[in-house]
């Protein structure tokens, strides 16, 4: 049987929202605690105020204290925020090493199929040889995945669903 067809998450998905899920340290994880914050905007530059953002990271390895997964809603300004543990590098295809990253899924009204992208950390030397970033031929567009440090422990990424600054989205 073929995979079930996707449908939009719609504007009322907050009925399953649990705000504590945006804090991946809530079960007692220890490590370098960081804040990931960002915005989501549409092709007209308007904030996507009803989106669901999910993150998944395989470093540190998920365990009872660390779910590896988080979910957050965007607010009226299209802003989302997570508290998590800074990931380290993980292995990639073949003998490659992937730079520290988070997988990011965007679900929203107006998206029939969720969008997949990643968040990397600006100025991380391992980005240069990351096997996924390297697939983005237009080097300028690699920046659409780069979170910038705005202050100690805080990383910011603006996600553009459409337009000149459109984020690189993946087929996986």
């Amino acid at each position: 049987m073929q995979t079930t067809t996707s449908q939009t998450i719609g504007p009322y998905w907050h009925l399953i929202e649990d705000r504590s899920w945006s804090d991946l340290t809530r079960f007692g994880a220890t490590g370098e605690v960081i804040t990931i914050e960002g915005t989501i905007s549409d092709g007209a530059g308007a904030p996507a105020a009803d989106a669901c953002v999910e993150i998944w990271q395989t470093s540190p390895t998920a365990c009872d204290e660390f779910p590896g997964f988080g979910r957050a809603a965007t607010n009226e300004a299209g802003v989302f925020s997570f508290k998590t543990i800074m990931p380290g590098p993980v292995r990639g295809p073949g003998n490659t090493l992937q730079a520290p990253h988070l997988a990011v899924t965007i679900l929203a009204r107006g998206l029939m199929f969720h969008l997949a992208t990643r968040l990397y950390f600006d100025k991380e030397p391992a980005n240069e040889n990351d096997p996924v970033l390297s697939l983005i031929e237009d080097k300028a567009r690699r920046n659409t995945l780069m979170a910038r440090q705005t202050k100690a422990g805080v990383w910011h990424l603006d996600i553009h669903l459409q337009g000149d600054a459109e984020t690189v989205f993946f087929e996986i």
């Binding site: 449908q7 939009t8 719609g10 295809p93 107006g110 029939m112």
Partner: protein
């Protein structure tokens, strides 16, 4: 090579909706205009969150609030979650949310002039058993108007959220009801080109799923991406 490393199969052509679906107006400014970049499935995509009922307590009966029964036609919805090869997806979290019997969501942004039901919150969470089976007790959601086009009404539906074995198996979908005349008018339902695929979103009425003197029943099975037989590493020449 551990089986967990085998990549998930590509979706069958036409079975998934296009984000550029102009009949569904909200897609207009939200769908990416550049082609998606195909990336290899790495550990990040091949693994995914595992939720434990201890951290994420289940609620399987959302038709009742304490001892107060929600208004509406009580229904039982059950089914299997399997992969494309028919293997059970065991112990996976299933989330649902929906409008109440009058077609109103218990949500601040739902402005539809239909009554809220204090005994219907509208969301639940369960885990599949070792056979991939899940079951909810709820009420049949009402249809509701939306602003997509003149006199637009969504067919009755229950929203579903599934995770499966990996980040790459994430599925958000909607379950519809058989015989709903709004289905063929609904741009969200129609956004998927393959009619057989979208028709599989329609649950099957099944008296045996229901319970005498208690509830009607619907069966809704869902399928998540299966894995290729070939382990991931063999798909990449750079390994050798």
């Amino acid at each position: 090579m551990n089986e967990i490393r085998a990549p998930f199969r590509a979706y069958a052509p036409g079975t998934q909706p296009d984000n550029d679906s102009p009949q569904y107006r909200s897609t207009g400014l939200r769908h990416p205009t550049r082609p998606l970049l195909k990336i290899p499935q790495t550990i990040t995509e091949l693994t995914g969150p595992q939720f434990s009922p201890a951290h994420f307590p289940p609620t399987d009966n959302i038709a009742v609030n304490g001892t107060h029964e929600a208004v509406g036609e009580r229904i039982i919805v059950e089914g299997f979650i399997r992969d494309e090869d028919g293997r059970p997806v065991a112990n996976t979290m299933v989330e649902i949310w929906q409008a109440n019997a009058a077609g109103r969501y218990n949500h601040p942004r739902d402005t539809h002039d239909a009554p809220l039901d204090p005994d219907f919150r509208g969301s639940g969470r369960v885990f599949t058993d070792s056979d991939g089976a899940y079951r909810f007790i709820t009420i049949k959601p009402g249809s509701y108007p939306w602003s997509n086009h003149a006199n637009a009404w969504r067919p009755n539906h229950i929203h579903f959220s599934l995770f499966g074995a990996g980040y790459a198996t994430r599925l958000i979908t909607q379950m519809y009801f058989p015989g709903d005349p709004l289905l063929e008018l609904d741009p969200i339902f129609l956004a998927t080109a393959d009619a057989q695929a979208r028709n599989r979103l329609i649950a099957k009425f099944d008296l045996d799923v229901g319970k005498q003197d208690y509830a009607l029943g619907y069966r809704f099975d869902m399928y998540l991406r299966g894995r290729n037989a070939t382990p991931m590493e063999d798909n990449h020449a750079d390994h050798h």
